[in-house]
């Protein structure tokens, strides 16, 4: 077996799960494991878990039957970017008036909504927090 590489920069991990709330935990755990590899702090990781939850919650109502929830994680030292998307059954946008959106915006370092070829997506990133003292 190869030695693990020191730096995760540029590594990409993709996970595809059924677009069903039951599988959101898989994305959450994947995000947490990868965030550890990116050297985020445990508080960042906790925020990221919630953010992934919220992003999934915003996307799932738009998923068509039998659709998948695809997540692409881009790793860097001190930063993890998550792009989650579903094949949308409608032309709607994620609800930006609910708590889910507020929480997502507050916890992620950046959030973007995209629509690409019928896929509705949310890209969020979590950067390592700076020391406060």
């Amino acid at each position: 077996m190869n030695q693990p590489t020191e730096r995760p920069d540029g590594d990409v991990v993709e996970v595809r799960v059924p677009a069903d709330v039951a599988y959101v935990s898989t994305l959450r755990l994947t995000a947490a494991a990868l965030a550890a590899r990116c050297d985020l702090t445990v508080d960042d990781i906790e925020d990221l878990r919630l953010a992934v939850d919220e992003a999934s919650a915003l996307l799932l109502p738009h998923a068509g039957t039998g659709a998948t929830l695809d997540a692409r994680f881009e790793l860097a030292r001190g930063n993890l970017q998550v792009h989650a998307s579903v094949l949308a059954s409608d032309t709607g946008e994620p609800d930006r008036h609910g708590f889910a959106w507020t929480v997502l915006g507050a916890l992620a370092s950046s959030v973007e909504v995209s629509r690409d070829d019928g896929r509705l997506g949310i890209t969020l990133s979590k950067r390592r927090e700076a020391a406060t003292q």
């Binding site: 709330v21 935990s25 494991a33 550890a36 708590f99 916890l107």
Partner: protein, 250 residues
């Protein structure tokens, strides 16, 4: 409202009602956030109360001139209080013994390192400190979070369709406690507001009288008096209160 609050002098009598109104307006956000942690075997009410402290802090510290949405500002503060609550109380959940032991060590290391570093430690730093591998740390962190193990579909009762917005479903907080809590809640909500707030801070959030004095903005003596009076009233009310009618399923 927030702008008005912040324009008032520290001792203005308008502050208190304004603050209360703000708390009420934003309580749904606290409840929403608290629910996200309800799988960790902490009573939901405790989490809400702890979150409410975060909300109070956010209201007091919010600077309307920075042009940020209040809810965006308040979310991390509320979550911060909830996280701190878990850190301080330890995680009261059933995990395998080995993970549990690691948990204790991990929590201590987490607290120590947070102090030393001025920020939360990374998984690698924790692993180095307690001399286990990173995977074990991630595992232990996972074990500590029943949160991660709560499937979101529990939000809908079996056989029911998933609510339109899956995150807004209702989670129950442990059937055997519901009645008791309902009774206590009834009694607590009937307390005068100042006494209620202070009792919750004292016994739910476990703040010292001095801390409460700082949070609420009254003297420690006043806190002491309010605690005593609130407890007395609570006892009287509990004694007088008829238990709620039994529901068929209990």
């Amino acid at each position: 409202m927030l702008a008005e609050l912040h324009s008032l002098p520290e001792d203005s009598p308008r502050r208190k009602p304004l603050r209360d109104e703000l708390v009420e307006t934003h309580m749904p956000l606290v409840v929403y956030l608290a629910r996200r942690f309800s799988g960790r075997n902490e009573p939901m009410n405790d989490l809400v109360q702890v979150g409410a402290i975060g909300l109070l802090k956010a209201i007091d510290r919010f600077d309307p001139s920075r042009g940020l949405e209040f809810s965006t500002y308040a979310t991390p503060t509320i979550l911060g209080e909830i996280k701190r609550h878990f850190r301080d109380t330890g995680w009261l959940i059933h995990v395998p013994r080995r993970a549990q032991e690691l948990q204790t060590t991990l929590n201590a290391a987490r607290a120590d390192l947070s102090q030393e570093l001025g920020r939360a430690p990374t998984v690698a730093e924790l692993a180095a400190r307690i001399e286990v591998d990173e995977e074990a740390v991630v595992e232990a962190l996972d074990a500590a979070r029943a949160y991660s193990g709560v499937p979101l579909d529990v939000l809908a009762a079996p056989g029911e369709s998933v609510p339109e917005h899956p995150m807004l479903g209702v989670i129950d907080e442990g059937f055997e406690q519901v009645e008791q809590r309902a009774l206590l809640r009834d009694v607590i909500t009937k307390l005068p507001e100042a006494e209620r707030e202070i009792l919750l801070l004292r016994f739910v959030a476990n703040k010292t009288q001095t801390e409460i004095a700082a949070i609420v903005g009254v003297s420690q003596m006043q806190v002491s008096r309010l605690v005593a009076r609130g407890l007395k009233r609570l006892r009287a009310n509990l004694g007088a209160e008829e238990p709620p009618p039994k529901t068929p399923t209990g």
